[in-house]
Protein backbone atom coordinates (compact mmCIF):
# COMPACT_ATOMS: atom_id res chain seq x y z
CA UNK A 1 0.00 0.00 0.00
CA UNK A 2 1.31 3.42 -0.89
CA UNK A 3 -1.01 5.58 1.21
CA UNK A 4 -1.18 4.46 4.85
CA UNK A 5 -4.80 4.15 5.95
CA UNK A 6 -5.92 5.82 9.19
CA UNK A 7 -7.80 3.36 11.35
CA UNK A 8 -9.78 4.37 14.44
CA UNK A 9 -11.55 1.59 16.31
CA UNK A 10 -14.91 2.00 18.02
CA UNK A 11 -17.24 -0.02 20.21
CA UNK A 12 -18.33 -2.96 18.06
CA UNK A 13 -22.05 -3.46 18.73
CA UNK A 14 -22.08 -6.64 16.65
CA UNK A 15 -19.42 -8.25 18.82
CA UNK A 16 -20.64 -10.55 21.60
CA UNK A 17 -17.57 -9.79 23.72
CA UNK A 18 -18.45 -6.09 23.72
CA UNK A 19 -21.80 -6.93 25.30
CA UNK A 20 -20.23 -9.32 27.81
CA UNK A 21 -17.86 -6.53 28.86
CA UNK A 22 -20.63 -3.90 29.05
CA UNK A 23 -20.63 -2.33 32.50
CA UNK A 24 -23.60 -1.54 34.82
CA UNK A 25 -23.58 2.22 34.18
CA UNK A 26 -23.81 1.59 30.45
CA UNK A 27 -26.66 -0.91 30.93
CA UNK A 28 -28.51 1.69 33.03
CA UNK A 29 -28.10 4.23 30.25
CA UNK A 30 -29.20 1.76 27.57
CA UNK A 31 -32.24 0.59 29.60
CA UNK A 32 -33.37 4.16 30.05
CA UNK A 33 -32.99 5.09 26.39
CA UNK A 34 -34.61 1.91 25.11
CA UNK A 35 -37.49 2.21 27.60
CA UNK A 36 -38.07 5.80 26.37
CA UNK A 37 -38.49 4.56 22.79
CA UNK A 38 -40.74 1.71 23.94
CA UNK A 39 -42.90 4.11 25.99
CA UNK A 40 -43.54 6.14 22.84
CA UNK A 41 -44.40 2.99 20.92
CA UNK A 42 -46.73 1.61 23.59
CA UNK A 43 -48.49 4.94 24.15
CA UNK A 44 -49.38 4.97 20.45
CA UNK A 45 -50.53 1.34 20.68
CA UNK A 46 -52.51 2.20 23.80
CA UNK A 47 -54.47 4.85 21.86
CA UNK A 48 -55.47 2.38 19.16
CA UNK A 49 -55.96 -0.65 21.42
CA UNK A 50 -57.20 0.68 24.78
CA UNK A 51 -57.86 -1.52 27.83
CA UNK A 52 -55.73 -4.44 26.68
CA UNK A 53 -54.17 -5.87 29.82
CA UNK A 54 -50.84 -7.05 28.28
CA UNK A 55 -50.35 -3.68 26.60
CA UNK A 56 -51.19 -1.82 29.80
CA UNK A 57 -48.77 -3.99 31.74
CA UNK A 58 -45.92 -3.42 29.29
CA UNK A 59 -46.56 0.33 29.16
CA UNK A 60 -46.53 0.48 32.96
CA UNK A 61 -43.35 -1.65 33.05
CA UNK A 62 -41.44 0.66 30.69
CA UNK A 63 -42.72 3.80 32.43
CA UNK A 64 -41.61 2.38 35.82
CA UNK A 65 -38.13 1.45 34.57
CA UNK A 66 -37.68 4.79 32.79
CA UNK A 67 -38.88 6.85 35.76
CA UNK A 68 -36.85 4.89 38.32
CA UNK A 69 -33.64 5.21 36.29
CA UNK A 70 -34.47 8.90 35.83
CA UNK A 71 -34.50 9.27 39.62
CA UNK A 72 -31.00 7.71 39.66
CA UNK A 73 -29.76 10.27 37.12
CA UNK A 74 -31.44 13.05 39.09
CA UNK A 75 -29.79 11.97 42.36
CA UNK A 76 -26.34 11.81 40.76
CA UNK A 77 -26.90 15.17 39.06
CA UNK A 78 -27.71 16.66 42.44
CA UNK A 79 -24.44 15.40 43.90
CA UNK A 80 -25.01 11.81 45.12
CA UNK A 81 -21.70 9.97 45.41
CA UNK A 82 -20.84 8.44 42.03
CA UNK A 83 -19.57 5.33 43.82
CA UNK A 84 -23.20 4.52 44.57
CA UNK A 85 -24.19 4.43 40.89
CA UNK A 86 -24.20 0.61 40.65
CA UNK A 87 -26.13 0.29 43.91
CA UNK A 88 -28.57 2.96 42.72
CA UNK A 89 -29.03 1.08 39.44
CA UNK A 90 -30.09 -2.10 41.23
CA UNK A 91 -32.06 -0.22 43.91
CA UNK A 92 -33.97 1.74 41.27
CA UNK A 93 -34.81 -1.38 39.28
CA UNK A 94 -36.19 -2.91 42.48
CA UNK A 95 -38.12 0.30 43.10
CA UNK A 96 -39.51 0.07 39.56
CA UNK A 97 -40.59 -3.53 40.26
CA UNK A 98 -42.25 -2.51 43.51
CA UNK A 99 -44.03 0.42 41.86
CA UNK A 100 -45.23 -1.80 39.03
CA UNK A 101 -46.51 -4.45 41.44
CA UNK A 102 -48.26 -1.81 43.60
CA UNK A 103 -49.97 0.00 40.73
CA UNK A 104 -50.93 -3.19 38.94
CA UNK A 105 -52.60 -4.68 42.02
CA UNK A 106 -54.14 -1.56 43.57
CA UNK A 107 -55.46 0.57 40.76
CA UNK A 108 -58.43 -0.25 38.55
CA UNK A 109 -57.06 -0.34 35.01
CA UNK A 110 -60.13 -1.18 33.02
CA UNK A 111 -61.56 -4.50 31.85
Amino acid sequence: MTNPRELILKREVGDLQTWRATLPGMWAWLFQRISAILILLFIVLHFFLPYRRPLQFLLLLFVSVHAALGIRVFLIDLGANVKTQKFLFIAMLLLAGFFLFYIWNRLPLGG
Partner: protein, 245 residues
Protein backbone atom coordinates in the same frame (compact mmCIF):
# COMPACT_ATOMS: atom_id res chain seq x y z
CA UNK B 1 -0.67 -22.49 32.25
CA UNK B 2 -1.31 -22.23 28.54
CA UNK B 3 -3.11 -19.15 27.22
CA UNK B 4 -4.39 -18.34 23.78
CA UNK B 5 -3.89 -14.71 22.86
CA UNK B 6 -6.06 -13.34 20.09
CA UNK B 7 -4.17 -10.19 19.16
CA UNK B 8 -5.29 -7.34 16.89
CA UNK B 9 -2.88 -6.82 14.01
CA UNK B 10 -2.77 -3.91 11.60
CA UNK B 11 0.08 -2.26 9.80
CA UNK B 12 -1.30 0.75 7.91
CA UNK B 13 1.65 0.62 5.50
CA UNK B 14 1.06 -3.01 4.53
CA UNK B 15 -2.42 -4.18 5.45
CA UNK B 16 -5.60 -3.07 3.77
CA UNK B 17 -7.76 -4.47 6.61
CA UNK B 18 -7.04 -5.28 10.25
CA UNK B 19 -7.15 -8.90 11.43
CA UNK B 20 -6.72 -10.95 14.61
CA UNK B 21 -3.79 -13.33 14.99
CA UNK B 22 -3.81 -16.20 17.45
CA UNK B 23 -0.80 -17.09 19.61
CA UNK B 24 -0.61 -19.97 22.09
CA UNK B 25 1.69 -19.10 24.97
CA UNK B 26 2.85 -21.18 27.93
CA UNK B 27 3.09 -18.76 30.86
CA UNK B 28 4.47 -21.37 33.28
CA UNK B 29 3.17 -21.91 36.78
CA UNK B 30 3.44 -18.28 37.96
CA UNK B 31 0.14 -16.76 39.03
CA UNK B 32 1.62 -13.27 38.81
CA UNK B 33 1.90 -13.17 35.01
CA UNK B 34 0.27 -10.15 33.40
CA UNK B 35 -1.10 -9.49 29.92
CA UNK B 36 2.08 -7.46 29.22
CA UNK B 37 4.19 -10.51 30.16
CA UNK B 38 2.17 -12.51 27.64
CA UNK B 39 2.76 -9.90 24.92
CA UNK B 40 6.49 -9.90 25.67
CA UNK B 41 6.60 -13.68 25.42
CA UNK B 42 4.84 -13.55 22.04
CA UNK B 43 7.26 -10.89 20.79
CA UNK B 44 10.35 -12.70 22.08
CA UNK B 45 9.48 -16.23 21.08
CA UNK B 46 6.93 -16.15 18.26
CA UNK B 47 6.52 -12.86 16.41
CA UNK B 48 9.07 -10.06 16.50
CA UNK B 49 6.86 -7.81 14.38
CA UNK B 50 4.17 -7.45 17.08
CA UNK B 51 4.01 -3.81 18.14
CA UNK B 52 2.85 -2.54 21.53
CA UNK B 53 3.74 0.33 23.83
CA UNK B 54 5.00 0.05 27.40
CA UNK B 55 7.31 1.89 29.74
CA UNK B 56 7.21 1.66 33.55
CA UNK B 57 5.59 -1.81 33.90
CA UNK B 58 4.09 -0.81 37.25
CA UNK B 59 0.88 1.02 36.35
CA UNK B 60 2.41 4.48 36.70
CA UNK B 61 2.92 5.71 33.15
CA UNK B 62 -0.23 4.55 31.36
CA UNK B 63 1.66 3.61 28.16
CA UNK B 64 0.40 0.03 27.95
CA UNK B 65 -3.36 0.76 28.01
CA UNK B 66 -5.17 -1.65 25.67
CA UNK B 67 -8.59 -3.28 25.45
CA UNK B 68 -8.46 -6.71 27.11
CA UNK B 69 -11.46 -8.97 26.55
CA UNK B 70 -13.57 -5.96 25.61
CA UNK B 71 -12.61 -3.83 28.61
CA UNK B 72 -9.93 -1.13 28.78
CA UNK B 73 -7.05 -1.72 31.15
CA UNK B 74 -3.32 -1.51 31.63
CA UNK B 75 -1.57 -4.59 30.24
CA UNK B 76 1.02 -4.39 33.02
CA UNK B 77 -1.61 -4.32 35.76
CA UNK B 78 -4.04 -6.91 34.40
CA UNK B 79 -3.22 -10.33 35.82
CA UNK B 80 -3.94 -13.29 33.55
CA UNK B 81 -5.42 -15.18 36.51
CA UNK B 82 -8.07 -12.46 36.94
CA UNK B 83 -9.40 -12.94 33.41
CA UNK B 84 -12.08 -15.53 32.92
CA UNK B 85 -10.83 -18.48 30.88
CA UNK B 86 -7.52 -18.83 29.12
CA UNK B 87 -8.52 -17.18 25.88
CA UNK B 88 -7.57 -13.51 25.82
CA UNK B 89 -8.44 -10.94 23.18
CA UNK B 90 -6.21 -7.87 23.07
CA UNK B 91 -6.91 -4.89 20.84
CA UNK B 92 -5.78 -1.23 20.77
CA UNK B 93 -7.74 1.59 22.43
CA UNK B 94 -10.80 2.87 20.61
CA UNK B 95 -11.29 6.44 19.35
CA UNK B 96 -7.55 7.00 18.90
CA UNK B 97 -5.81 6.33 15.53
CA UNK B 98 -3.88 3.06 15.37
CA UNK B 99 -0.18 3.46 14.57
CA UNK B 100 0.50 -0.27 14.33
CA UNK B 101 -1.03 -3.34 16.01
CA UNK B 102 -1.68 -2.37 19.66
CA UNK B 103 0.05 1.00 19.48
CA UNK B 104 -2.11 4.10 19.17
CA UNK B 105 -1.24 7.68 18.29
CA UNK B 106 -1.21 9.57 21.60
CA UNK B 107 -0.77 12.88 19.76
CA UNK B 108 -4.56 12.86 19.30
CA UNK B 109 -5.09 12.59 23.05
CA UNK B 110 -2.69 15.45 23.74
CA UNK B 111 -4.36 17.58 21.07
CA UNK B 112 -7.69 17.19 22.86
CA UNK B 113 -6.06 18.02 26.17
CA UNK B 114 -4.41 21.14 24.74
CA UNK B 115 -7.81 22.48 23.64
CA UNK B 116 -8.88 22.95 27.27
CA UNK B 117 -5.67 24.74 28.38
CA UNK B 118 -4.71 22.04 30.88
CA UNK B 119 -2.20 24.16 32.76
CA UNK B 120 -2.44 26.06 36.01
CA UNK B 121 -2.64 29.88 35.75
CA UNK B 122 -1.92 31.34 39.19
CA UNK B 123 -3.98 34.22 40.56
CA UNK B 124 -1.12 35.55 42.59
CA UNK B 125 2.47 36.09 41.54
CA UNK B 126 3.75 35.20 45.01
CA UNK B 127 6.72 32.85 45.03
CA UNK B 128 5.72 31.44 48.41
CA UNK B 129 4.64 27.80 48.23
CA UNK B 130 0.89 27.29 48.57
CA UNK B 131 -0.28 25.74 51.81
CA UNK B 132 -3.27 23.50 51.23
CA UNK B 133 -4.16 21.34 54.19
CA UNK B 134 -5.15 17.80 53.11
CA UNK B 135 -8.25 18.18 55.27
CA UNK B 136 -9.48 21.31 53.45
CA UNK B 137 -12.82 21.10 51.67
CA UNK B 138 -11.25 22.06 48.35
CA UNK B 139 -8.62 19.30 48.55
CA UNK B 140 -11.32 16.78 49.42
CA UNK B 141 -13.38 17.83 46.39
CA UNK B 142 -10.42 17.38 44.04
CA UNK B 143 -9.47 14.12 45.74
CA UNK B 144 -7.62 11.59 43.61
CA UNK B 145 -8.51 13.34 40.34
CA UNK B 146 -5.00 14.82 40.03
CA UNK B 147 -3.59 11.27 39.84
CA UNK B 148 -4.59 10.84 36.17
CA UNK B 149 -1.78 9.14 34.20
CA UNK B 150 -3.26 10.07 30.78
CA UNK B 151 -3.43 6.45 29.63
CA UNK B 152 -6.48 7.12 27.43
CA UNK B 153 -8.59 4.24 28.81
CA UNK B 154 -11.45 6.62 29.64
CA UNK B 155 -11.37 8.14 26.16
CA UNK B 156 -11.52 4.67 24.64
CA UNK B 157 -14.38 3.50 26.88
CA UNK B 158 -16.53 6.63 26.38
CA UNK B 159 -19.03 5.94 23.59
CA UNK B 160 -19.64 9.66 23.12
CA UNK B 161 -16.13 9.97 21.70
CA UNK B 162 -17.39 8.05 18.69
CA UNK B 163 -20.54 10.11 18.17
CA UNK B 164 -18.79 13.44 18.59
CA UNK B 165 -15.10 13.24 17.64
CA UNK B 166 -14.72 16.88 18.71
CA UNK B 167 -15.91 16.14 22.26
CA UNK B 168 -13.18 17.13 24.74
CA UNK B 169 -13.51 13.74 26.40
CA UNK B 170 -13.32 12.51 30.00
CA UNK B 171 -9.54 12.86 30.32
CA UNK B 172 -9.45 16.56 29.34
CA UNK B 173 -12.58 17.37 31.35
CA UNK B 174 -11.11 15.66 34.41
CA UNK B 175 -8.12 17.99 34.10
CA UNK B 176 -10.42 21.01 33.79
CA UNK B 177 -12.25 19.85 36.92
CA UNK B 178 -8.97 19.79 38.88
CA UNK B 179 -8.21 23.34 37.78
CA UNK B 180 -11.71 24.77 38.24
CA UNK B 181 -12.00 23.28 41.73
CA UNK B 182 -8.63 24.82 42.64
CA UNK B 183 -9.29 28.30 44.05
CA UNK B 184 -5.72 29.43 43.19
CA UNK B 185 -6.38 29.07 39.45
CA UNK B 186 -7.16 32.20 37.45
CA UNK B 187 -8.88 31.49 34.20
CA UNK B 188 -12.32 33.06 33.94
CA UNK B 189 -12.89 31.50 30.51
CA UNK B 190 -12.25 27.93 31.57
CA UNK B 191 -15.88 27.18 32.41
CA UNK B 192 -17.13 28.98 29.32
CA UNK B 193 -14.93 26.85 27.06
CA UNK B 194 -16.18 23.54 28.39
CA UNK B 195 -19.85 24.58 28.54
CA UNK B 196 -20.09 24.56 24.74
CA UNK B 197 -21.32 21.99 22.27
CA UNK B 198 -18.29 19.72 22.60
CA UNK B 199 -17.97 20.07 26.34
CA UNK B 200 -19.55 18.74 29.52
CA UNK B 201 -23.08 18.27 28.17
CA UNK B 202 -21.83 15.56 25.82
CA UNK B 203 -21.37 13.36 28.90
CA UNK B 204 -24.42 11.11 29.10
CA UNK B 205 -23.41 9.54 32.40
CA UNK B 206 -22.68 6.04 31.14
CA UNK B 207 -19.92 5.68 33.75
CA UNK B 208 -17.71 3.71 31.34
CA UNK B 209 -14.78 6.04 32.05
CA UNK B 210 -15.22 5.58 35.79
CA UNK B 211 -15.40 1.80 35.54
CA UNK B 212 -12.26 1.37 33.43
CA UNK B 213 -9.93 3.95 35.03
CA UNK B 214 -6.85 2.05 36.30
CA UNK B 215 -6.27 4.76 38.93
CA UNK B 216 -9.87 4.56 40.22
CA UNK B 217 -10.66 8.13 39.24
CA UNK B 218 -14.20 9.03 38.26
CA UNK B 219 -14.13 11.58 35.41
CA UNK B 220 -17.96 11.45 35.53
CA UNK B 221 -17.82 12.90 39.04
CA UNK B 222 -15.58 15.72 37.81
CA UNK B 223 -17.83 16.41 34.82
CA UNK B 224 -20.87 16.56 37.12
CA UNK B 225 -19.09 19.02 39.37
CA UNK B 226 -18.40 21.16 36.28
CA UNK B 227 -22.05 20.92 35.17
CA UNK B 228 -23.18 22.20 38.57
CA UNK B 229 -20.58 24.98 38.53
CA UNK B 230 -21.66 26.09 35.05
CA UNK B 231 -25.29 26.08 36.20
CA UNK B 232 -24.63 28.18 39.31
CA UNK B 233 -22.31 30.60 37.49
CA UNK B 234 -24.99 31.04 34.80
CA UNK B 235 -27.60 31.70 37.47
CA UNK B 236 -25.33 34.21 39.21
CA UNK B 237 -24.67 36.09 35.98
CA UNK B 238 -28.43 36.20 35.22
CA UNK B 239 -29.08 37.54 38.72
CA UNK B 240 -26.31 40.15 38.25
CA UNK B 241 -27.79 41.31 34.94
CA UNK B 242 -31.27 41.58 36.49
CA UNK B 243 -29.97 43.68 39.37
CA UNK B 244 -27.99 45.92 37.04
CA UNK B 245 -31.16 46.90 35.10
Amino acid sequence: MIYTFNVFRFDPKKDSEPYYQEYTVDMGESDKATVLDGLFKIQQTQDKTLSFRYSCRLAMCGSCAVVINGKEGLACKTMLRDLSGNRITVRPLSHIPVVKDLTVDLKQLMKRLRKVEPYFIPKSSSLEPARIPPTSKERKIIGLHTECIACGSCVSACTMMHWDPEYHGPMALNRVFCLVADSRDLNPERLEKIAGENGIYRCHMEFNCTDVCPKHISPTRGIHYLKRRVFWEGLKSLWGKRNAK
